[in-house]
């Protein structure tokens, strides 16, 4: 790396960089743009749900059909909202951006283990996201068979599905390279003294997440290849014999099984849930420890719970499939594992809640988002229990209850944690401070409107409203009593969109502000704060590679000279 000190052009420095910090920022900006876009798709859909078949304002012109959102396009937007938010938004932000930027810093490494591979994985992600976007412009529109792409529907769907599959293959390859990199970095590049049990929890969560991505994604890649074969080479892997479409029996060979796709898909997609939530746990842990000024409660139980969670997440996938008729004994097995996996989640949440006990809490913006995360994730987790039991799942399956459940986990859960992370590490990445007043407004309005969007979904779901209705349930008698909630949710969603302006304005103002010159404004203990400048040095991160002498959360140690003792302090 030492040969890189000559002046670099804009392109080599910011675009085709191999520096983990630049790549982290590239991931961060790209994924935030996609999050906003994916959210925009949902705001269009919510208009149709609140006011069925009336022209959508502002964007009606590009929808055709007199500004009314056509039902086929509603399906497309639903698929793309899910795909974009998960695969182009949350995972790249939580794992690509935060993981890339802070894992090397926190373990005292000068870069990732494979810098060129790192850049490759970003550009593959970028390419995959462009392919996904191309889907909107092919005949028949973007993929429209549900974000889960269940065959046989997905096998006979319009071209958009093929584009979606190619996009997924790119994204899977990208996250594969990214996960190898994080794993190798954590295993090989921990600095002297940084033993496993001295790792910050954030690094642990990224490490376990990387394992999940490494091992859970390839079966989906296999499934994607099989579905591409079905669509392009005319095979029948997911096509049963004698399938009738539009009154005609299909001429394909048959003998395949739609259930096979579901098994392969959920073998990825359940661990994917923990890919979404584990980095959030990591960020929240850092923020809580820092702002309560005391050690985190039960470091070791947190670590073991997360490892156990990672293992268990591979054997719960078929709890998404109770209604497929796969057999009751298999169902019983997956109910049991599903109930078991709730134990480590509760251990983690309890440890974080207990960490608040007796702390002198600083209620700054990152802390507010972290505190908001705890009950919101709690709601998301607890509402999952009835879905994990086949008997109650039969009633709730494919209703808005499910939508409410997983959005509580991911939106006010993970996304709040990601905001906490952005506000917490902004001073480190830029050397500047964010505006506290705008940050707090951002938090309180987001908190209120998030609940305004998702809480009514439980009520609608319990009443039996299906999750996939273009008209929001207008034609169903059993939905009549809860139909008024559609407007509540939609207005909340648009106001939630407006509330994000506080964030955007805050970022712009703060980036234009002056550098504060503070290296460690939060008084944190980990290496990213104590041993580098803000922002860290271009290549190499550290003036002198630090040595670690103590655990990551030594706050308020009796007789210490300050209320935090850096990991790199001798003693």
């Amino acid at each position: 790396m030492s040969s890189d000190h000559h002046k670099q052009s804009f392109w080599t420095k910011y675009v085709f960089s191999t520096d983990h910090k630049i790549i982290g920022i590239q991931y961060g900006i790209t994924s935030l743009v996609w999050l906003l876009f994916g959210f925009g798709l949902m705001m269009i859909m919510r208009y149709q749900l609140a006011y069925p078949e009336s022209p959508v304002p502002f964007v009606g012109g590009i929808l055709g059909d007199g500004g009314i959102l056509p039902s086929e396009m509603y399906n497309s937007l639903g698929v793309m909202h899910g795909t974009i938010m998960i695969f182009l938004g949350v995972v790249p932000l939580a794992f690509g951006a935060f993981g890339n930027y802070f894992v090397p810093l926190q373990i005292g490494a000068i870069d990732m283990a494979f810098p060129k591979l790192n850049a490759t994985s970003y550009w593959m992600y970028f390419l995959g996201s462009v392919i996904m976007a191309i889907g909107f412009f092919v005949p028949g529109g973007a993929a429209n068979s549900g974000w889960t792409s269940y065959p046989p529907l997905a096998d006979i769907a319009t071209t958009g599905q093929t584009v979606w599959l190619f996009g997924m293959v790119m994204l899977i390859t990208s996250s594969l390279l990214g996960s190898i990199n994080i794993l190798a970095t954590v295993i090989q590049l921990r600095t002297e003294g940084m033993t496993w049990m001295k790792l910050p929890i954030f690094v642990w969560t990224q490490f376990i997440t990387a394992f999940l991505l490494l091992l859970a994604f390839p079966p989906l890649e296999a499934a994607g290849v099989l579905q591409l074969m079905d669509r392009l080479a005319g095979t029948s892997f997911f096509m049963p014999s004698g399938l009738v479409v539009s009154g005609e029996v299909l001429t394909n060979a048959g003998g395949g099984s739609p259930l096979l796709w579901q098994h392969l898909f959920w073998f990825l997609a359940h661990p994917e849930v923990y890919v979404l939530i584990l980095p959030a746990f990591g960020i929240v842990t850092e923020v809580i420890a820092n702002n309560t000024r005391k050690p985190i409660q039960g470091y070791k139980s947190l670590v073991y719970a997360m490892i156990f969670l990672g293992f268990m997440s591979f054997i719960v996938w078929a709890h998404h499939m109770y209604l497929t008729g796969m057999g009751t004994s298999i169902g019983a097995f997956f109910q049991t594992t599903t109930m078991i996996i709730s134990i480590p989640s509760v251990v983690i949440l309890t440890a974080l809640l207990l960490s608040l006990w007796g702390g002198s809490i600083r209620f700054n913006t990152p802390m507010l988002f972290a505190l908001g995360f705890l009950p919101m994730f709690g709601i998301g987790g607890l509402t999952g229990l009835p879905l994990g039991l086949a008997a109650s799942d039969i009633h709730l399956h494919d209703t808005y209850y499910v939508i409410g459940h997983f959005h509580y986990v991911v939106a006010p859960g993970t996304i709040f944690a990601l905001f906490a992370g952005i506000y917490y590490w902004f001073p480190k990445m830029t050397g500047k401070r964010t505006n506290e007043a705008l940050g707090k407004l951002h938090f309180f309005f987001s908190f209120i409107f998030m609940n305004g969007v998702f809480m009514p979904m439980f009520i609608q779901g319990l009443a039996g409203v299906s999750r996939r209705l273009w008209d929001g349930g207008e034609i169903y008698a059993h939905a009549a009593d809860v139909l008024y909630l559609n407007e509540v949710m939609s207005v909340s969603a648009w106001l939630l969109g407006l509330a994000q302006l506080f964030f955007i304005v805050n970022m712009i103002i703060s980036l234009k502000g002056k550098k504060t010159g503070e290296v460690n404004p939060w008084g944190a203990t980990t290496l990213d704060w104590t041993d580098t400048t803000s922002p860290p040095l271009d290549h190499g991160n550290f003036e002198k590679v630090p040595t670690v002498y103590r655990g990551p959360y030594e706050y308020s140690v009796p007789d210490a000279k300050e209320d935090f003792t850096p990991q790199s302090e001798k003693g």
Partner: protein, 196 residues
Amino acid sequence: MDIPFTVKNRPDTGLYNGKLGVWLFLASEVMLFGGLFSAYVFLRTGVDTWPVGADILNVPLATLNTMFLISSSVTMVMSWASLKLNDFSKFKLYAGLTLLLACAFLVVKYFEYTAKFDHHLYPSTNNFLGIYFTMTGLHVLHVIGGIIVIFFFWMPGAKMWESDPERFVNRIEIVGLYWHFVDLVWIFLFPVLYLL
């Protein structure tokens, strides 16, 4: 500053970065092919009749191909061992042999595929042929990838032997690990598709 352990082993893991990286990559490859083998089992057990591979596919040719791949794994190890013994010309010889055997595998595979097409046996004919073409096709892509990388280190990339020999030996070791994996996948594919 240079990234540590790119060439030398880290004492507590006993690995250099690249070797760990390729092992992790192979773990994900196991899951990829594992997913496909599981799909094979799922499809086969889900129907009443499933053809016997030997009735449709050419077992003698596949046996020949198995020999080719196993031999190529041996020559791959020899090429790495030659470098370890500081014998660059032997490395060239064995890496060249590996390439030759890998290409021979592809030629046989080409004749197998075209023979099927001549008899109007396509992936769409039935799910046995579908999974046969998908799995062997993906394996062929892995073989082609291996050929490209081995060729690179055989010809243009071999310059590194002069500039940074230790690193070059490591790279050959990594390529070798990948190549053995590709070989191993075939050793599973052969009985599963052709014999069972």
